[in-house]
Symmetry: C2
Amino acid sequence: MRIVGIDPGLQVCGYACLEIGGKEKSPTLHSYGDGALIEAGVCRTSSQLPLEAKLNQIAEDIKSLLKKFSPDIVAVEELYSHYAHPKTAILMGHARGVILQSCAEAAIELKSFSATRIKKSITGNGRASKPQMQRTIQSLLSLPALPEPDDVADAIAVSLCCANEAGSVLVTNN
Amino acid sequence: MRIVGIDPGLQVCGYACLEIGGKEKSPTLHSYGDGALIEAGVCRTSSQLPLEAKLNQIAEDIKSLLKKFSPDIVAVEELYSHYAHPKTAILMGHARGVILQSCAEAAIELKSFSATRIKKSITGNGRASKPQMQRTIQSLLSLPALPEPDDVADAIAVSLCCANEAGSVLVTNN
């Protein structure tokens, strides 16, 4: 099973593609199977562009990723509804809407996960700090360095959470 | 010049198409020229659908409208950033993002207007009530009844505001 995780954003979207081949069931991530992190990175929009052009760039980038990776599932982080800046949350909603619509147009199954659920799934603690999440991801996937920037770490995290909840057994190719 | 006004929403999007033919400049809507309200209505999504399917339905409906009317400009109402329910505002943002992206994909010029600016443009009062807006729109366009539902009235209002700010002189074919 192939999972693409996306951390939605207007300026930067993180993405990660996990390939999960194991058929064994495991209650925790810490059991490894024959999974692998295929790729992770970011898509950026120019800060000079008007909002609608940024959204169109995001749609094009997401469609390219879906075509490249042909995922069975796309996992997307939910937005906080208690942002200090509601205007920012609404703008983030614009970007997330375009991402979800791109997945629906491509008829790819979509799963949403709250930040708390993701943190709990990866570290066992729904209130884990960013550094704690990064260290756990690095350890789980035997990455040579901490996953950076945050957008990449968040995208890997949501894809791992999705794999975890699907009962898959993960491993890395690194 | 053809203007399509859109009132964004996740369950219901209002739309209106204005054809503005006058070349005269006028500081107020109350000068009439050779404009006309071509059509106004709503696009609805089923409440049973998951979020991403609703967004895809909205994208399809908006693309159909853009194809049908071939507007020069699409005018879209801005979202309030002070909603009592931030979660609702974020979901509205999802729908508005898809609408804006559909316009950008079709390379149609987009203009955003705040509710206050729209109300001021139509009635002279940025805090006009909904019934006041409806009565003014009915009068301006000589509609046989009050424009309803709210989504239709709001879509006509944003298209009139856009025409007004472009200095066009409006008239109705009713």
